[in-house]
C-alpha cells in the first residue's frame, strides 16, 4: 500500500470540502510581488493564484529564488513590494500569532530539514500537534501509522542528528503533513532519497492532493515531474530572470 491509511489526514476531508465550497477563493494569491534581500531584486513582478487542490512544481536554476519564493508563500518572508495573500489575508497585516496559525494550515518540508535535536524522531514529527495544544497521546495511533509509512518505525526513537539525509527528509515530510494542512509546500523533498523513496514521497503528495490539498514542490528533478504528470494534473512553474513563468509542454 502506497498511501498511509492516516486517519489524521482522512479526517480532514470534510473541512477540505468546505474550503472547496468557497468557490473562487484562492489559498495563495501573489499580486505583483517582488522580493530583495537587500541587494538587487531577486524576484520581480510575480503574480500567481493558487486554487485549492491544485498541484504545482517549481523549478529554476540553483540560486534563482525557489526557496525564497516558498518562504513568501508561508509568511516567513514579507514581500518588499506587492502583496502576498494567504487564505485571503495579506501577510503584511499579520501579527506573529496569525503567522503561527498560518503555519498550522501550511505544511512545509524545508530544504534544510530542521528538527529539535534533543527530541526523538517521533516526538519531532508530533511537534506541530504539541505546539498547537492538541493531545499528542490521543493521536498516538495516527502518529505510529505515519511513522511506519515513512519507513521510520525502526528509527522512531533515534535523535535527528543520527538520521541519514533521506531519513531526515522523510521525517520532515511526516512532520509537514501530521496536522493535515490545507497546503503542502515541499522544498527539494527528494534531494537526498533514492528513486524508490522519491516515488513513495511523490505518491503521498499526490494522494494528499487527491484529498483536496494544494501542493507545491520545488525541485530540480525532472524525472519526478514526469512521474507526477502521469498521475496528476500538475503545472510547472519556472523561475527565470527573476520572473515566474508557466513552463510549456516540453517537459
Amino acid at each position: 500500500m502506497l498511501f498511509p491509511p492516516c486517519a489524521a489526514i482522512a479526517s480532514a476531508a470534510p473541512i477540505l470540502q468546505k474550503d472547496k465550497a468557497v468557490a473562487g477563493a484562492y489559498v495563495i494569491e501573489l499580486d505583483n510581488l517582488a522580493y530583495s534581500y537587500g541587494g538587487g531584486e531577486l524576484l520581480s513582478d510575480i503574480s500567481l493564484r493558487l486554487t485549492p487542490g491544485s498541484f504545482h512544481f517549481l523549478t529554476g536554476p540553483s540560486g534563482s529564488g525557489k526557496t525564497t519564493f516558498l518562504k513568501l508563500c508561508y509568511g516567513a518572508l514579507v514581500p518588499t513590494a506587492g502583496h502576498a495573500l494567504l487564505f485571503g489575508k495579506d501577510v503584511r497585516q499579520m501579527d506573529r500569532d496569525e503567522i503561527a496559525e498560518i503555519r498550522r494550515r501550511v505544511g512545509v518540508v524545508h530544504q534544510d530539514c530542521q528538527f529539535l535535536d534533543h527530541l526523538t524522531v517521533a516526538e519531532n514529527i508530533a511537534l506541530p500537534l504539541m505546539v498547537s495544544g492538541r493531545d499528542v497521546a490521543a493521536e498516538e495511533v495516527n502518529l505510529k501509522e505515519l511513522v511506519a509509512w515513512c519507513g521510520l518505525t525502526h528509527r522512531a526513537d533515534a535523535l535527528p542528528p543520527e538520521l541519514s539525509g533521506g531519513e531526515r527528509q522523510r521525517a520532515a515530510l511526516a512532520r509537514a503533513v501530521i496536522m493535515s494542512p490545507d497546503i503542502i509546500l515541499a522544498d527539494e523533498p527528494t534531494g537526498n532519497v533514492d528513486w524508490e523513496m522519491s516515488e513513495r514521497l511523490l505518491s503521498l503528495l499526490v494522494e494528499l492532493n487527491r484529498m483536496g490539498k494544494t501542493v507545491m514542490i520545488a525541485t530540480h528533478d525532472l524525472g519526478l515531474i514526469r512521474a507526477a504528470k502521469t498521475r496528476v494534473q500538475a503545472r510547472v512553474l519556472r523561475i527565470a530572470k527573476r520572473r515566474l513563468q508557466l513552463a510549456g509542454a516540453d517537459l
Partner: protein
C-alpha cells in the same frame, strides 16, 4: 499569558516543557541564585522581625515605666522619699509608684560592682519606680512640682535614651525590609540574565518551533515554567538552609532584658515559608518579560 497553577509549578508540564532542551548552566545559575537569595532573605526577614520586636518591646514596656532618683544627705532621704511618693500619688497619669528596697537596689548594682558591694555604707540615691497608666503623665509638670517639694529628686522618664533606640531599631527594620527588596530585585535580575542566555542559546529551537506553528505564548510558557519551577525549588532549598542556620543560633537569654535574639518567635516562623512562592513569582515575572522581549527581537 495564563497564570501558572501551583500544581504545574510543582510537577512542571512534561510534554510541553520538553521542547526546550535542558540547559545545565542556566539551570544551575537559576537554582543557585534562588537558593542563595532566599537564604539571605531569611536573615533579612529575621532581622526585620527581631528589630521590630525589639522596638515594640522598648516602646511598650519602657514607655510605661520611669524612675525617680532622690539624692540627698543620708538623714533627709527618708523624708524626701516620703514627700516624693506623696506628690506622685496625686499626679494624674501615674498608676503606681514604689520605692525600691535595699535588696532590689543592690541587685540592680550588682552587675556593675559585684555582689560584695557594701551598699549600706555608700551614699546611694533612693530609686522610686513609677508605672504609668494608659494616659501617661506629663513629665515637665511633674518635674516642676518635684522641684518645689522634693529638691533632691531627679526624674528620669527613660524617653531621653529610649527614643533614639526605638528610632534606631525602626531604622534597622526599614534597612532589613529594603534588603529584602534588594535581594528580590537581584534575584529577578540574575534570573532574567539566565533566561536571556537560555533564550539566546535556543534561538534555533525557537526558530523550529515557529516553523511548525508555535505561538509566542507557547514558547514563552515553556521557558517561563522551567525557570519558575527551578526558582521555586532553589528558594525552598535556600529557605531550608536559612531556617536551619537560624535554629542553630544560640538562644538569646531571657535575662538579656530588652536585648533579643535574631531568631524567629511564634507565628513569625510562617514568614520564611512565604519566600519560595514569592521567589517563584519574581522568576515568573522576570522570565515572562525576558521571553516576550526576546521573542519580539527574534521575530
Amino acid at each position: 499569558m495564563k497564570l501558572l497553577s501551583p500544581a504545574v509549578l510543582l510537577r512542571g508540564e512534561p510534554q510541553a516543557d520538553r521542547v526546550v532542551p535542558p540547559t545545565g548552566f542556566t539551570a544551575r545559575l537559576t537554582l543557585f541564585a534562588a537558593a542563595a537569595m532566599t537564604f539571605l532573605a531569611v536573615f533579612a526577614l529575621a532581622l526585620s522581625l527581631a528589630t521590630g520586636r525589639l522596638a515594640s518591646n522598648w516602646s511598650e514596656e519602657l514607655a510605661r515605666s520611669s524612675t525617680l532618683r532622690i539624692s540627698a544627705p543620708a538623714e533627709q532621704i527618708a523624708a524626701q522619699t516620703e514627700a516624693a511618693l506623696q506628690v506622685l500619688a496625686t499626679t494624674g497619669g501615674v498608676a503606681r509608684a514604689r520605692a525600691l528596697s535595699r535588696e532590689e537596689q543592690q541587685a540592680l548594682l550588682e552587675p556593675w560592682f559585684g555582689p560584695d558591694l557594701p551598699v549600706d555604707s555608700l551614699p546611694i540615691p533612693q530609686l522610686i519606680e513609677i508605672i504609668e497608666d494608659a494616659q501617661g503623665y506629663d513629665p515637665d509638670g511633674l518635674r516642676l512640682r518635684l522641684a518645689a517639694e522634693v529638691p533632691g529628686a531627679v526624674l528620669d522618664d527613660h524617653g531621653r535614651w529610649r527614643r533614639p533606640l526605638v528610632k534606631a531599631a525602626g531604622r534597622i527594620r526599614s534597612l532589613g525590609l529594603l534588603s529584602l527588596l534588594l535581594i528580590g530585585a537581584v534575584m529577578g535580575a540574575m534570573i532574567t540574565l539566565a533566561a536571556n542566555s537560555a533564550l539566546a542559546a535556543n534561538a534555533q529551537v525557537i526558530a523550529v518551533l515557529r516553523l511548525v506553528g508555535a505561538r509566542d505564548d507557547f514558547i514563552a510558557r515553556a521557558f517561563v515554567r522551567r525557570f519558575t519551577f527551578r526558582a521555586f525549588w532553589g528558594a525552598v532549598l535556600g529557605m531550608g538552609l536559612g531556617l536551619a542556620a537560624l535554629l542553630a543560633l544560640p538562644e538569646a537569654q531571657a535575662e538579656g532584658g530588652f536585648l533579643t535574639g535574631l531568631g524567629l518567635r511564634g507565628w513569625h516562623w510562617v514568614w520564611p515559608f512565604v519566600l519560595p512562592p514569592v521567589a517563584a513569582m519574581v522568576s515568573f515575572l522576570a522570565t515572562g518579560g525576558a521571553a516576550r522581549r526576546m521573542l519580539r527581537r527574534l521575530a
